[in-house]
């Protein structure tokens, strides 16, 4: 061991100190890859176990292997499937997350356009007000929303003690629509904020010349803004799709009581509740529910990261 801080090349190849220094300098990379391995082990373990028979899973850890089978997947994916089935729940997940992605995008894009390019009184403070709603915890809305869905909306007029039905009882509780209505409302503040940030940065000249040519806001929106803001719409779409697909709290609250309509997350969680009984199917089930987000994530990663970045690193 010689000079550490100022390694000098000796006449016979690299100096010992230099070699030690190089080795030390590569430690960070080793730590990084060590972390990468540690980070992927849990998922990998689940993946391996999902291909092992029930007895094998109970008898030994996934790293020992053995007992390979596809039965878990077969059980999970059989249509109908009974107590072990997940295919209905996966369809429900799709039925929730597709409208809960498309509708907020459209509504938020309209609102974001209005906030960015249609001048009106109180535009600034109403925009800030909408954005501020972003951080209201979902818990603040759950009880009244469930009451609204299961019994309609009633308003007792102050000082009069007269109750008016404002929103009819449509028996939405337990229906898939109740979940995507809730998701739509909860997503809007963030969506408006994100899309507004993008739309308001579009060059002003484009809008002015379009206005001079006689285009009204509706035309400008469809012909100009939508095509120009595809990146941000895609970013939000991916973000929102993963969010609604992975959501547990809202689905459990709104339709947890109706087993026919529960999405995959709720189904998986209830399978986990019978731990030990359905444990072997649980591995395959958890993995199947994860496949779609992972595919979306890997194929559209750039948009996804952009969406998260835009949502957080602004300022």
């Amino acid at each position: 061991m010689t000079q550490l801080s100022v390694p000098a090349a000796g006449p016979r190849g690299p100096h010992l100190g230099q070699r030690v220094y190089r080795w030390l300098a590569s430690i960070p990379t080793w730590i990084l890859w060590g972390l990468v391995i540690v980070w992927s082990v849990p998922t990998f373990g689940l993946f391996v176990n999902s291909f092992r028979a029930r007895d094998a899973q109970i008898a030994s850890g996934w790293w020992t292997g053995g007992g390979w089978t596809l039965d878990n997947y077969a059980q999970v994916l059989t249509p109908g499937g009974g107590s072990k089935g997940l295919s209905d729940a996966l369809l429900n997940s799709l039925a929730i997350s597709l409208p809960a992605t498309v509708i907020p995008i459209a509504i938020a894009a309209f609102a974001a356009y209005a906030f960015a390019w249609i001048p009106f009184k109180g535009r600034e403070w109403s925009f800030v007000g909408v954005v501020a709603l972003m951080a209201i915890p979902a818990q603040m809305s759950l009880i009244p929303l469930l009451q609204l869905y299961s019994g309609g909306g009633h308003w007792t007029v102050p000082f009069l003690n007269k109750t008016i039905t404002v929103f009819p009882d449509l028996s939405l509780a337990g229906q898939i629509s109740s979940v995507w209505i809730t998701h739509t409302g909860f997503a809007l503040p963030f969506a408006i904020f994100l899309i507004h940030n993008y739309i308001s940065q579009l060059p002003k000249d484009v809008f002015e010349s379009a206005r001079i040519d006689g285009a009204d806001h509706f035309t400008i929106f469809w012909r100009l803004v939508v095509p120009l803001s595809v990146p941000v719409l895609a970013a939000f779409a991916i973000f929102q799709f993963l969010w609604t697909w992975n959501d547990y709290l809202i689905a459990l609250t709104m339709i947890g009581a109706n087993p026919a309509n529960i999405p995959a997350t709720v189904r998986i969680a209830s399978l986990a509740g019978e731990f030990g009984v359905q444990e072997h199917v649980l591995t395959a089930g958890a993995f199947v529910t994860t496949v779609l987000p992972l595919v979306v994530f890997f194929s559209l990663q750039r948009y996804f990261v952009r969406g998260i970045l835009a949502g957080s690193v602004k300022g």
């Binding site: 980070w39 850890g61 818990q139 603040m140 759950l142 890997f298």
Partner: protein, 639 residues
């Protein structure tokens, strides 16, 4: 197959209806400039149908179907007539006439319907006001006077009678429908009230001149902002604003939401030892964690003092002391929050631990990955858990944490959970002879290497490296010592397996690990982008000036990304504060792992105690409120 079909139909239907509503609204207003009378008819149609459908839905009409149909016809024809006539008197007659006809219709077919509540008690539905002429005239004339006053205040822009008419009508509504009892009036009372109301409303458009081409264009232009904003505001009001207000109200009521109980629910939260328990605070000072944490923090101060002496100040912070303070602080918080028990403290523990660890790890990994080979592959893998649901993550880690009654005959005591297998393996290692010696040699070699490195670096005045290796030496020496005296589970029957999920209070840390596992990817990606955005000139200038990499990191990169750290920390705090899925799936709050969000869910939806559930939601809301204020202020600056 059937399920698939209904799913597709549902998706397409919901999206389609939304699109039709939006485009339809735009098209209606597109009619305004060229086809005013059709536009006007449509407005009449939509207004009357809305009003009468509401009346119908509230059981306020006798033979509602026929009445609504007639009303819609009158409204549509009235609108059409108003849209094509320019004669002042005719317009007034059309508007007021249609309004009066509609009001009289509603009044004469209004009926006190007997509804039946859920529990079977019949109710009289109010529909006919018991008119009292004193308040009626008072309110109407008062309203008209207010209208005149407003007209004066508004520098007399509109015609005076329109302002008086509008406010007089408002006064009539109050006097006729809000002051008297709504269930005991006669039919003639109802007809009178309705007719005058209809007159007031109908006369408003009737007293306006026919819209000019300019005004028609303006209607179309002005409509756009409402059409663009209305859907968003509707959804936000229904799902966020109104429920939030209602939750605030419910939190002051009893469990069914009927009687007012004041702050009883909030008192109940703090009086319950399951949510708020200070009784064991003395144990804090006797716990091993406290002493270890305190010593580590002190070491940090010693390092800072030594470095300060070198450059002539009292205390000089540097990466080694930051690191020790960080670790010591985490240990101290764990010491404090493992004796202060209850849901609220648990949540605080979550927030501190997950936020600090995820932020630090994300930053560390972002730095490590920056300019490393295969950077994007490494980052993808670390980021991957972000795409997995919390439920999925909980299940994945449940398998990691699995503990089985150990049996000596099988390898690793028959453990199927990786962590316990490692733990038992460690026990087997420390109980063995030759493998143990090999391990001791390896660990000893690392320790010696670190010692040599540290002394060397001290001699070379490379203080960062010197202190870092000294600090790194501590856990290595500890591990060496533990291997000798014995560590790990199920070795020679002495140790035990770890019940990660059941052993309170440190099972909380294992649950937090799951959230950290998912969130590090998020913090890493954001820090990575921020680090790449640090101007290269700054770093180059530092390099030219002879700064080492660690110096330029601590003195250039870190100050540059401070705003990003703020963003990450606030985002994480809000997220962790609301943590629900992981706890619900892994323990459901058992074994002392309850958090506010899960407590709220259980109180509200398992026990159906809406009062207490709402109060817990409000506590959660108040806890995140300061962070919200910070975020909004930051966004205001950004916009």
């Amino acid at each position: 197959m059937e399920k698939l079909l209904t799913t597709i139909l549902g998706v397409v239907g919901s999206v389609g209806i939304s699109a039709i509503l939006f485009i339809g609204a735009n098209m209606i207003f597109d009619l305004a400039p060229r086809h005013w009378k059709w536009f006007s008819a449509l407005v009449g149609f939509l207004t009357t149908s809305t009003v009468f459908l509401i009346l119908w839905a509230n059981d306020l009409l006798l033979s509602p179907g026929t009445v609504t149909l007639i009303a819609i016809t009158i409204g549509t024809v009235g609108g059409f007539a108003l849209g094509m006539t320019s004669n002042r008197w005719l317009r007034f007659a059309y508007g007021a006439g249609a309004g009066m006809a509609l009001g009289a219709l509603a009044g004469s077919f209004s009926q006190n319907v007997f509804g039946i509540l859920e529990d079977g008690t019949p109710v009289v539905w109010p529909a006919r006001p018991d008119l009292q002429f004193g308040p009626l005239l008072g309110w109407t004339i008062g309203g008209a006077l207010v209208g005149l006053a407003i007209w004066v205040l508004n520098s007399r822009q509109k015609p005076a009678y329109r302002s008086a008419l509008f406010w007089g009508t408002v006064g009539w509504i109050v006097g006729a429908y809000m002051v008297p009892s709504l269930s005991s009036g006669t039919q003639s009372d109802a007809i009178l009230a309705g007719t005058v109301l209809g007159f007031g409303i109908g006369a408003l458009p009737g007293s306006k001149p026919l819209a000019s081409a300019l005004e028609r264009n303006r209607v179309k232009e002005e409509s756009r902002k409402y059409i663009f904003l209305a859907p968003a505001f509707l959804f936000i009001a229904v799902t966020l604003i109104i429920p939030t207000i209602r939750t605030l109200v419910l939190s002051l009521r009893d469990r069914r939401g009927d009687g007012f109980v004041g702050v009883e629910n909030y008192k109940a939260i703090f009086a319950n030892s399951n949510t708020f328990d200070l009784s064991d605070w003395r144990l804090f000072f006797t716990s091993r964690l406290f002493w270890i944490g305190a010593i580590i923090v002190l070491i940090g101060f010693v390092i800072a003092r030594v470095r300060g002496k070198e450059i002539g100040t009292r205390i000089q912070g540097s990466p080694p002391s930051y690191a020790t303070w960080f670790v010591g602080g985490l240990l101290l918080s764990a010491a404090a929050l493992s004796v202060l028990r209850g849901t609220l403290f648990n949540n605080l523990w979550w927030v501190i631990t997950v936020t600090l660890v995820a932020t630090a790890m994300g930053l560390g990994i972002a730095v490590l990955a920056d300019r490393a080979k295969y950077e994007s592959a490494a980052k993808s893998i670390i980021f991957l858990p972000m795409a997995i649901s919390f439920v999925g993550a909980g299940i994945i880690w449940r398998f990691m944490f699995q503990a089985r009654q150990p049996t000596a005959a099988v390898p690793h005591g028959g453990q199927t959970g990786l962590l316990n297998a490692l733990w038992v393996g460690l026990g087997e290692l420390s109980a063995s002879t030759w493998p143990k010696l090999i391990a001791l040699t390896l660990v000893g070699a690392i320790a010696i290497g670190l010692t040599v490195l540290a002394t060397k670096a001290f001699k070379d005045r490379a203080m960062g490296l010197a202190w870092s290796s000294t600090v790194a030496l501590v856990p290595v020496v500890w591990f060496f010592y533990s291997l000798i005296v014995g560590i790990g589970g199920w070795a020679n029957g002495r140790g035990e397996i770890i019940l990660f999920i059941q052993n309170s209070p440190f099972n909380n840390l294992w649950l937090m690990l799951v959230l950290i596992w998912t969130q590090v990817g998020f913090t890493m990606i954001i820090f990575s982008a921020a680090i790449k955005a640090v101007p290269a000139e700054l770093l180059e200038a530092a390099e030219v000036d002879g700064a080492t990499e660690s110096q330029s990191f601590w003195q250039i990169t870190i100050p540059q990304i401070v705003p990003t750290i703020g963003v990450v920390v606030t985002t994480l705090i809000v997220l962790v504060m609301k943590v629900f899925d992981i706890v619900k799936v892994m323990t459901n709050g058992n074994f002392d792992t309850q958090v506010i969000a899960n407590e709220m869910w259980q109180r509200a939806f398992t026990e159906l105690n809406f009062g207490l559930g709402s109060a817990l939601a409000v506590v959660l809301f108040i806890a995140v409120l300061p962070v919200i204020v910070l975020n909004v202020r930051r966004m205001q600056k950004a916009v």
